[in-house]
Amino acid sequence: MNKTFESQLSASARRMRKQSESNLSVPETIVIPQTRTRYWGWIATPAAAAVGLLIGLFIHRPAERQDNFSVPVVVAADNSGHSIVEDGTDYSLLVSL
């Protein structure tokens, strides 16, 4: 008996809910406050600064350290057209005088 009445209440409440909600004008979207970047901002900013510093140091490194990366200098060429460079490597296919 009581169970039946509870079902009756539920059905009635459902009808009333449907009726009241159907008449409501619900905003389609909600404006979310600006998303915080959590801890990434605290990591990314110093990391970017460190990378920038390293790049700067690399570009403006002391001149003597650049010798390790110098291109071979052609000092002579033999009759066959082969180029002779300082370290004895034959770069004829690349450079010919």
Partner: protein
Amino acid sequence: MIALIVNYKSLSDGQLMERVRRKDDENAFAEIYRRYARLLQGFFFRRLGGDEEQSADHMQDTFLKVWSSRWQYSDGQPFRTWIFSIAYNLCKNTYRQNKHEQEYLDSFPIDEPISEDSTPLKLDAATFDSALQQELARLNEAQQMLFELRFTQELTVPEIAAIIDIPEGTVKSRLNTLTNYLRLKLKDYE
């Protein structure tokens, strides 16, 4: 580059909320809003005296609270209970602001006289709804809230207990009293 397309509509409330919490996923939040906005606005509309503007404001406040408290949501926690707890507390604060706190009483005015000579009425749904609506209007805020959660939102006793933050036994007892009261009042419409 593999693009991952997430079908938000196929995700459960809990899965959506997990994405909101872990990834600040605004699309997941939008899907939650799509599912619950009307339901919550209706809840506030009925609980706050039919003020549509206020109910829309409260509904949006609830969602802002969900967003700002997303860290507090724990995996596996029933989402419906969680969001209704927020809505319930907002309602309670409004009642307090409106100085209706005293309406949070447990007693029911069940000793009101009921006319013995009331003639049986035609039992159609509309008549029952109308009579029920009248009786609900006479209940205090706490009783109306209980009815709303149990019968309108169709929440279970454990869910209601978690939302109102009272023991399940108390919820059962209050529901029993409420149902008996309404049954007595609406006996002609059964």
